[in-house]
């Protein structure tokens, strides 16, 4: 039984943590969150690229660092701990994965080095209306290399310069790659629940777009990409949850009421234990997801859903309790609780909430896979 990361992988994680402690303290997240025009921390983004993180899972032949997924998940966990205000998830877990999954060799050679270097910032444009996306109701059209339609609430799209877009082609759902700074594209930056990760509405008016993967196969590729992204983002959620728990624990140890630390009151102790349990269950499910991702295992579907569900739940629980256990100060702008609370809900929404993934999990289980 070897169900843990190797010492080398843990060392890489430690390096990432040290780097982010220095370059992405919570003040950086707060700076972007409070700013009207700083859409992401550019210095942090380029620093991460220098560390090779954007290209962690991109093979070296395509300009990546070629670390692999067991390394990338640990970087993701640290991104989550740091609440890094950069579009890492959208560019790395989604756009990069889409090109890795569906791109032709020429596309990979052309696009992946741009993504690995951080020059391209990718996003995935999926939703057109509130509610669970539905392949039968895609109104954005891709025809003759031109894209027309509107994508709503695209995560990280305020910062991105490229988008992988789900569109309806004559052959069926298709993915297309679009230059967001090119012709026929306009964007409206939106107020995000987590303003450190601003999204946008993207409008395409016959914008030039190149198909990604076989026409008509877009939905299947998307499903594959989402599954992989779910594992990666679950680690980000896990990192955030664990950090929220640590901060809450430390606060309750230092805060006294009735002559003793509030951490000694059983109501808080027991709920902190419950948060700890949720975080550890999420961690274990995430480990399994990482294994399945790295192995391209048939269990990936089930593992990704489980990791996603438990990490989403853990982060939401940890941050809800974080504010509550901080009491009045936890509800002030000045304290950092709301940074975590916002990020937790925003990450939950950005790949569709836990309910969607629960439903999908049962689909995986009853399709004949699973434990």
């Amino acid at each position: 039984m070897n169900f843990d990361f190797s010492d080398e992988q843990k060392l890489l994680q430690k390096t990432a943590r040290d780097f982010l402690q220095e370059h992405s303290p919570l003040a950086v997240c707060r700076r972007v969150l409070e700013s009207d025009d700083e859409l992401y921390a550019e210095d942090l983004w380029s620093g991460a690229a220098e560390m090779g993180w954007q290209g962690a899972a991109i093979p070296e032949e395509f300009g990546g660092a070629g670390f692999g997924y067991l390394e990338l998940v640990l970087i993701a966990e640290e991104m989550g701990r740091a609440l890094a205000p950069i579009p890492f998830g959208s560019s790395v877990y989604l756009a990069t994965e889409a090109i890795l999954a569906a791109g032709g060799d020429e596309q990979k050679k052309r696009c992946l080095p741009e993504l690995a270097s951080g020059r391209w910032i990718g996003a995935l444009a999926l939703a057109e209306r509130p509610g669970r996306p539905d392949p039968a109701r895609i109104e954005t059209r891709l025809e003759g290399g031109r894209l027309t339609g509107t994508k709503r609430a695209v995560p990280d799209a305020a910062a991105a310069n490229r988008a992988v877009v789900l569109a309806a082609a004559p052959e069926g759902p298709a993915l297309a790659l679009v230059d967001l700074d090119g012709e026929g594209v306009s964007r409206e930056v939106l107020a995000s629940l987590d303003p450190s990760r601003p999204g946008a509405t993207l409008r395409f008016d016959a914008a030039p777009a190149e198909p990604l993967g076989p026409a008509g196969g877009g939905w299947e590729i998307l499903e594959r990409v989402l599954r992989r992204a779910a594992v990666l983002q679950a680690f980000e959620q896990l990192g955030g949850a664990a950090r929220a728990l640590e901060i809450t624990r430390d606060f309750t140890l230092g805060r006294y009421a009735f002559g003793r630390p509030i951490a000694s009151f059983q109501a808080l102790k027991h709920r902190l234990a419950d948060v700890y349990v949720a975080v550890e269950l999420a961690r274990s499910n995430c480990f399994y997801g990482a294994w399945a991702l790295e192995q391209e295992a048939p269990e990936l579907g089930e593992a990704a859903c489980s990791a996603r569900v438990s990490a989403t739940d853990a982060f939401e629980l940890a941050t809800t309790e974080m504010i509550q256990m901080h009491g009045g100060v936890g509800y002030t702008w000045e304290y950092d609780c709301h940074l975590f609370y916002r990020r937790a809900k925003w990450l939950a929404a950005s790949l569709g909430g836990a309910a969607d993934w629960r439903d999908r999990l049962v689909g995986e289980l009853t399709a004949g896979g699973g434990a």
Binding site: F265, T332, W333
Partner: protein
């Protein structure tokens, strides 16, 4: 069993409605009187309306007539509030004074204090705020550290209060201070009336996580208070504060969640689709809606039971704590679920009002008694369960561990 007024209540309601109709416009369907603005014009409008009510016998309904009230029964006060809520009136910024501080002065103040302050409080000529909580003393109010030290015939106050509503437009505040740190925790406190315009009083708004700023921090630096403004005896501040807080519970009562509710959730679910069918037909969505609905209806009908007790001349118990304990977490759960239902779009503030609700609801779970304090109240006062062991009894206040020494 019915939901009707008694004939006496019906007569009162008709009289109240007649007065309201004569002076203010009814709310349109769906319209809400705004409760957030605190600009000078709004304050002035509120004072104007309060004065009009006072001059016509519709202010401070349950106060004795001698202090400016109407001597009405509590159920009549409820009826008035129900009726007034149907009209377009300025926000009520007098609640803390009239609901909590006035009764405190009646119980503990000197005849001079009652004479000087109550009528002006009743008429809204002078607005009042409450200065109890401190950064280090929230749920454990008696842990407060703001000091008052004798200085000739006056007192000098130093310290910091927090979560004060309306501090910047208030004329007077009621403050609890520590006058003897060598006494036991609850014994060294004294209660004062403090002039909010006095030198050394500094007010800073607190920004909340939802961007709002309904509360203030108030700093006191050598603020002088004459001994004539002391309420009740030196060292008796805890007892006086309890009077204030008991009246808070009575006046807060069935604070409904505010923000979007289960009807809004049903509407949302009617607009969204899951797998090509209305989300409202999805059985998971239905279960969640029903769960929210049943609990909220339970709270509402619990309120009706409380009103019935009032109508029968009984005193409702601390059961009223149920309302906030249920509705505040529920508002958070409901907003959270609605956001989840919006799926990818849920991360954008503009997707619906539920995003605002998600950011606003945590404050409801903390303000005016955290979930934890409310559970303690129910456990101890209703179920009669024992208190936790106290580590802060039987020793001088200054020796109680604070974690900061």
């Amino acid at each position: 069993m019915d939901f009707n007024d008694t004939s006496e209540e019906a007569a009162f309601r008709a009289e109240a409605r007649a007065f309201l109709e004569a002076h203010v416009a009814p709310l349109e369907p769906g319209q809400r009187a705004s409760f957030e603005t605190e600009d000078p014009q709004t304050v002035e409008a509120a004072q104007h309306w309060q004065a009009l009510k006072k001059d016509n016998g519709w202010a401070c309904l349950t106060w004795p007539v001698e202090y400016g009230g109407r001597g009405a029964r509590p159920i009549e006060s409820v009826i008035w509030n129900q009726e007034e809520a149907r009209f377009r009136v300025p926000p009520n910024i007098f609640g803390i004074g009239i609901g909590m501080l006035g009764p405190t002065l009646m119980a503990h103040g000197t005849p001079e204090q009652r004479e000087r302050y109550l009528q002006k409080m009743a008429r809204g000529d002078e607005i009042w705020c409450q200065l109890f909580s401190e950064p280090g003393a929230g749920s454990d109010l008696a842990g407060l550290q703001t000091s008052a030290v004798r200085d000739g015939g006056d007192w000098r106050i130093n310290g910091q209060k927090i979560w004060t509503s309306g501090a910047h437009f208030c004329r007077w505040g009621m403050i609890v201070t520590r006058t003897d740190p060598t006494a036991e925790k609850h014994d060294g406190l004294t209660y004062f009336i403090v002039d909010m315009k006095a030198p050394g009083v500094e007010i800073r708004p607190i920004r909340q996580i939802n961007g709002g700023a309904n509360f203030n921090q108030v700093f006191f630096s050598d603020v002088r208070v004459p001994d004539a403004n002391r309420v009740d005896a030196v060292g008796n501040g805890w007892r006086v504060s309890m009077t204030t807080l008991l009246n808070e519970r009575a006046s807060v009562g069935g604070a409904g969640g505010g923000g979007l509710g289960v009807r809004d959730l049903i509407r949302l679910a009617g607009q969204l689709e899951i797998d090509g069918r209305p989300a409202l037909e999805d059985s998971h969505v239905r279960q969640r809606i029903a769960d929210f609905y049943v609990r909220l209806r339970g709270v509402q009908h619990t309120g009706n039971r409380t009103l019935t007790a009032l109508s029968r001349g009984q005193t409702p118990g601390p059961e009223a704590s149920i309302s906030k304990l249920v509705t505040a977490p529920l508002a958070q759960q409901l907003a959270s679920f609605a956001i989840e239902l919006q799926s990818l779009a849920g991360g954008e503030m503009a997707a619906s009002g539920f995003q605002d609700g998600y950011l606003g609801s945590p404050g409801m779970r903390i303000a005016a008694g955290t979930d934890e304090i409310l559970r303690n109240i129910l456990a101890e006062r209703v179920l009669g369960l024992p208190r936790e062991p106290r580590m802060d009894k039987g020793i001088p206040f200054k020796d109680i561990p604070t974690g900061t020494a």
